[in-house]
Amino acid sequence: MALSGYGAFLNTMRSNHAVAPTPDALRPSTWRRALREYRALARDRALLLALIVATLFVLIAVTYPLGATLAEAASPEGIRVLSDVLRRPVYHRIILNTLVMGLTTAAIGTAVGFLFAYVRVKVAAPNWIKQLIHLTALVPVVSPPFAVAIAIIVLFGRSGFITHSLLGLRTDIYGLPGLTMAMVLSFFTVAYLNLAALMEGLDPALDEAAANIGANQWHIFRTVTLPLLLPGIVGSFLLLFVEALADLGNPLVLGGNYTVLATRLYLAIVGEYDITTGAVLSIILLVPSVLLYFVQLRLVARASVVTITGKPSGRAQRVRDRRVVIPLVGAALAITLLIVLIYLTILAGAFTISLGANNAFTLRNFEYVLLGYGAEAMLDTTGMSVIATLIAGLLSMVIAFLVVRGKFTGRNALDLGTMLGIAVPGTIFGIGYLLAFNSPTALFGIPLIPKLTGGAAVLGGALAIVMVYVIRSTPAGLRSGVAALQQIDPAIEEASVSIGADQATTFRRITLPLVRPALLTAMIYAFARSMTTVSAILFLTTPQTRIMTQQILNETEAGRFGNAFAYVVVLIAIVLIAIGILFALIGGRSGAAREVIPATSTRATLP
């Protein structure tokens, strides 16, 4: 009795403190607050475990290799290389090349994306045309990045099917023009998806209001549509710029003498075994990429806030003026046709001995891929992608849950750290993994991480490759998970907890079923991305682990286009089958189908 009285007395003392708060006396120091938050969080074991796993994932798989690259670049040797790079004209040339390529690709790619989006959303055109351009624009999502590049060589190269056989020209497709074409056709999809989503979100009432006060279509476009879309356009431009900078596959196949940072970097590692130069070039590539990536995330997010304001009212005004419709639809159809032609070439090339030179039908290419040398690569790649898909799918939902629902200091850091997995060009992760994991990692003499890359690596390097697959695909899943969770009333989860479920049970039985469409999106994206990724894993493959995309590159460099095409066809088929399976397993009756394409503002294409 006396004791409880004393307790009550103490409590009164403490709360008297709060009655007249002197803010600074009451304000807990930041670290004490953080500690309290973690203690509160640790009350639920599963939540604590999830946080630990997510944090370790970001620390080990994302930041540690990046840190290793930074450390290498900042070493005395690295500084020497850097001053060398900054001085020598050959590097000036490379940097200039990279910038020109990036700007050209970004400008043309955004324009094409805008054209496709505008025709699909804002122009009065037959529905089949809209469907056709939509589906065509999505094809690059499921195909390896340089499939387009190889087809361009076959179609437009020195002995190209169109340029030589049909027109009798001897063109040189290698270099900037061919490269830009390949990159635009590989990357414009993101711009298209971003801008189409924004245009659909434009409030039709705006159009109507403008039309009511007598503005003509062009005036509406210039004064209403364009300003509202501007952040989205700029965002897409930046994203494409970053993509182009990061891309390795296309420049390797089509670059010729036009050297860019990514190819120089590749050469430094693979040709000269000079990892320091690789690290220095990585940093030069890294800084603008990461900065611009996060700027564009902001821009696109802001644009959708501006445009999507509650329920659209009124009916959208479609552009009907023939002088506008015909050129726009014509241009979009021409590009669509080009893409169709490219993929038909791939398909045809897979079934011929040597497209252009010897057009005889053959199944030998597929024999090679399916039954011969390629079978192992196919199985390895698919197996690792499946594992990565399962991990990335679950991990992205768990991190999304922590980021949206968690109340702890550092959840923004967790979000940011996860996003680095895609904001940083893949090649840099390749180098980072080599630097970080080529020898076992120990802390204070305690072995922590075994050797993951190179000869005698754990599981023949498969672990490192799966890690890279996961870090590259988790960011997109995170964004769609965050978007989905923000739509769900937190009271639903609280209701579950309040009647006795712990966080883990609530997550499994309530949250996960509710974010199923986002999970499906995340997994489809993860699988497609893992199967088609190139730049991040080129340095990580070992003789024991063969990767399809690397095989495609090898076959291309050896001039065996038939095999390369057969690989591409098989790869696309595997991705499509996997999407079908995922739909059957997770899609269910929910509205999942609407959200298949990776959420806006994540990289939907593949470096």
Binding site: S15, S498, D502
Partner: protein, 361 residues
Amino acid sequence: MTQAHALALEGVTKVFETPEGRLVTAADNVSLTIGQGEFVTLLGPSGCGKTTTLRLIAGFEFPTSGRILLDGKDIAHTPPNKREMAMVFQSYALFPHLTVFENIAYGLRLRRKPPAEIERAVREMLALVNLVGLEQRRPAALSGGQQQRVALARAMVIQPKVLLFDEPLSNLDAKLRVSLRAEIRQLQKRLGITSVYVTHDQAEAMSLSDRVVVMNAGRVEQVSAPEELYVRPATRFVADFIGRANFLPVHVAHIEDGCAAVQFRGHALRAPAHPSVATGPATLMLRPEVIRLYPYEGGKTRFVGRVRATTYLGHTVEYEVESDGDVLSVTDPEAVWGHIFAEGESVGWDFAAERAYILSH
């Protein structure tokens, strides 16, 4: 009926830090005890800390200081799922992917009850909340009132030690609110579950509760039975929040048996007073319907004034009367059937002192 449980808050304070770094004391030294099977309502304007207090009890927030006792055991830092309470939310918060049956069965399945028992308990609940026949529907196919009944059943079926409600009727239309609140009260009495209910609607609080806790700016202003609250408010804030009130300055001469002898405008009165009242200046609280108006008869009435505004409302008439520099609100339902004073008319006014109440400030 199972054993009911008692809840107590002792000096509970919750300080939030806003994202901008501002400190907000959402619950400020809140102390109250809730008896076994009692229905207590937290009532107050928006932002006064009702939800925060409820969430502290539920365990979704943890107090900055103070203790929360369930049957004498401090549970202030027990996770919410271990407190054996259940919460009913304003937004219903049903599990949209589960049927009505599975929503209600959720808590029982968590507790691994045998299927036959689950079936029996859920059916019983369905009958209690009048939802028989809807068990296979999804929440989206139900009306708001039906959804909230499912939520109620889902919370009650686990026989929680304490039932918590956060404005459960605010999303419903007025008629439904009245009928559902009667249902809630009936069910709670029948099952005898200790309940804490949050609302900003005084009619809801009055009609549902054994006792009402009036909160203001994070603090408890008064804890009383509904009947007490209107006639004996503890503070000006409560008097003003529960209905309307006129406040007039008086001087307390002395206090005796809970009544104060006061001087008001030269007249000596004896009126009931709040225990905190001491001799010296104080406040006279008059409800608008306590004041009677009379035709002006020069010097015959105790107080005089002039009608500034007259509002005819059908069931009653409202006046604004200016008197000695004060503006009084007066309502007179009788006026509907008799004489209605016109604006600008001089009137006499009076009140029965036993219907007045003296507040300390």
